[in-house]
Symmetry: C2
Subunit: 171 residues, 2 copies
Amino acid sequence: MTPSPATGPTLPAVSDAELLRLDHQVCFSLHAASRAFGGVYRDALKDLGLTYPQYLAMLVLWEHGPQPVKAIGEQLRLDSGTLSPLLKRLETAGLVRRERSAADERSVTVRLTEAGEEMRERALPVPRKILAATGLSVEEVLGLQGLLGRLTSALDEAQGQSGASPEPVRG
Amino acid sequence: MTPSPATGPTLPAVSDAELLRLDHQVCFSLHAASRAFGGVYRDALKDLGLTYPQYLAMLVLWEHGPQPVKAIGEQLRLDSGTLSPLLKRLETAGLVRRERSAADERSVTVRLTEAGEEMRERALPVPRKILAATGLSVEEVLGLQGLLGRLTSALDEAQGQSGASPEPVRG
DNA sequence: CCCGATTAAGTTGCGCACAACTTAATCGTG
DNA sequence: CACGATTAAGTTGTGCGCAACTTAATCGGG
């Protein structure tokens, strides 16, 4: 209800100070939800000895089979700086093998081992545990997924059009 | 539509394999949304020289004034292992001071400096940038916030009741 | 009053995320 | 064919998140 100083480009009906308070709530909510999810996955994945991002990588391999690091990175939106050490750890654990492609020596194909394939069976009950932990119905989850998808697209779209300035706070 | 083997405790109408595929989508969606948000905040906060979690800590201090590390941690759900170095960086940057409480020598009170207080003015336009980047209305944001809040509560509730097993995959 | 339990903050170690960079292979155009 | 541009993967450095641990102060029961 409070009139705005009309600073922003999108919405006129909320003041900056109110938005700052709202932001406190919203960005924190997302941050907290993401970490709460992480905690539940940590529990659910203890049996498999996987971290959450490692599980994501295994999901991609279970679903789409052997593929280059690049392709995994595109599906998970992760770059080689994150994926290379992660995949190396999965290889050390005996779950995947990595081999240079013959056709293109720059590319490395990641492939599940026997143990990696077998782990899929043990991973089957994980999603149900997670779903139960959310307390949401499948329909609500699908709705959330849709909203998050639109959100991510919009955020990606909006990225990289601001002015640069000082360095982040370092110790 | 496919009938389920009726394994899980909550929902009967979806098979484990379908859930594994769904999980691929959902947990990835949340992960991706969280990181996309991080990217947009990174842009918006460049001017201030703050990271996203540093911004969260500043929001708490702007809104609620000087308080012990413990209290900040409760609001952000972060422990001292994360907060101590983060606050130390904010102190190095001249934004906060940390001083032992006289009443309880175990406690450390975190307090904004002049520079820290002044930064609030420069932070006012940030939330509007974020809101614009989401492409959502204030109402939708509030709805999302509510859903995420319920989700986080449920996830926290559900945490810590599973069986332990091997170590995570280490290199 | 004393001593074990609890509590606040900090430290260490590991994995993830990301920016910036390096290395090596492939592509494309003259 | 030659050579600069592009591309895939990996490396380095910084910060966050969390578990496990340490240190020091406070609390509480005998």
